[in-house]
Subunit: 267 residues, 2 copies
């Protein structure tokens, strides 16, 4: 799979999050017909040498309506072939509807993977696993405050998020490694526990940077012998600079995170 070979080749666990908000784009790009695309294009060019993946937060594109989907199409077309793409869409519905969402992100748009919410259970997740060479990142433990509301609900032996991991480990095995987890960077100790439950599973870890997760603690506790991690940084990279040199500043931040994660790539 592209992702694994790229981690070894680039010695990087970095995933760049394109949470692009038109209200935060440097002024000199606003004159272009599609400023969101122009911004992302420059961020991709600047960060691709240091990153193995790119996570696109769908909310930021959907909120612009058709224009946003248009930008998204152009961004995917522009994406270098060696960058693994993640639709951060957090979909999940009854089986026949999840099948339509899978078609959306894997056929209509050629993403390499998608984030999926577990609340509706097996038939809401499995349609995404039926595709060859596509991955699913199932929400396990998220980085936000609200994670405590339900993900830590416990029967005395395990929490809900641990249940999600243990039940879905079977789906991960059946799918031959196509299922991974979203594990928030704000809780390194819990990452260690999830790594014990799921030694061979890939983790997508958002929350480094703007949300305050500690990079080294996460890598030490979350990496496995193959790396097994993607460290996502969004705002801290794409808004590292606000002026005409925003792309250089993004590159510097990405280069820094590549170096910091190089130690943990395994292989």
């Amino acid at each position: 799979m592209k992702l694994f070979s790229q981690i070894q080749q680039k010695k990087s666990l970095l995933c760049v999050g394109l949470d692009t908000d038109i209200q935060k784009i440097p002024e000199h790009l606003l004159g272009f017909p599609d400023p969101v695309f122009e911004f992302n294009k420059r961020i991709i060019d600047a960060t691709a040498p240091f990153a193995v993946a790119c996570k696109i937060n769908l909310a930021f594109y959907e909120c612009m309506g058709k224009k946003g989907w248009d930008s998204l199409e152009k961004i995917l077309d522009y994406m270098p072939g060696d960058i693994f793409t993640i639709a951060d869409a957090k979909r999940g519905d009854i089986g026949n509807t999840s099948r339509m969402y899978a078609r959306t992100f894997f056929e209509t748009y050629a993403f390499d993977s998608i984030t999926v919410a577990p609340y509706m259970g097996e038939d809401s997740v499995k349609p995404f696993l039926e595709y060859e060479d596509k991955m699913v990142f199932l929400l396990a433990l998220t980085s936000n405050k609200g994670a405590e509301d339900f993900q830590w609900f416990s029967d005395g032996k395990s929490t809900l998020y641990q249940q999600v991991v243990s039940k879905s480990q079977q789906w991960a095995k059946e799918s031959k490694g196509k299922l991974g987890y979203v594990v928030g960077a704000t809780r390194p100790d819990d990452i260690a526990g999830i790594r014990e439950q799921a030694p061979d599973t890939f983790f997508l870890v958002p929350g480094v940077g703007a949300q305050g997760g500690d990079l080294h603690a996460i890598c030490q506790k979350g990496a496995n012998a193959q790396g097994g991690l993607l460290i996502n940084a969004s705002r801290s990279i794409i808004y590292a600079g606000k002026g005409e040199d925003f792309a250089e500043k993004a590159a510097a931040e990405a280069a820094f995170l590549q170096k910091e994660t190089a130690l943990y790539c395994g292989g």
Copy 2:
């Protein structure tokens, strides 16, 4: 709120689900430039006299890419003002991302309400409740088989879905009734329990018809003094006929469901 007055006026709890799949549209519509819109337009015309709400399953539109969002826009523009619209989108993400999703469905597209997934907790739900005159239907107990995987996870005193209801009752109060629940029609006994936990909260009940839920059991156990229910039927209405008379057949099915639900409208 439009929804409550319409239930009393039309004596109906019916919500028509526009899960429109271009592969299932009658042949004679396929020559139109936008067959999905033409189909929905005729379904809306035929069923609006009997229905109070319309639920649009986003997956069926997203999977067509920009064309799908184009159809969606036309459908919303065409929708009669007395029909309460639901974006069945099951979104939910960290606060700043949920805010973008709220903007998508309440500003970019003028839906009256949205379905939201609870897994990520309070900050993933509250941005949707900040809008005046908009409603949120939080997933509580869903109609699919996978519901059993996590929604019934229990600490011995209550299940996860009961936790979702009890915790979010506070948000429902703070939002003055703008929060309701998705409660699947396939489990009438559990609906009775959720009604006890949440006597004044609105329930959106999918799963009648194609998914096999029993209408009268649900209404008896789920209705409150104001009605307090929306009974959604999708495939059983929109695909009631396959030929040129599909709209008449849809109208007949909708009229039947209106009469069946009239008893439970309260008021």
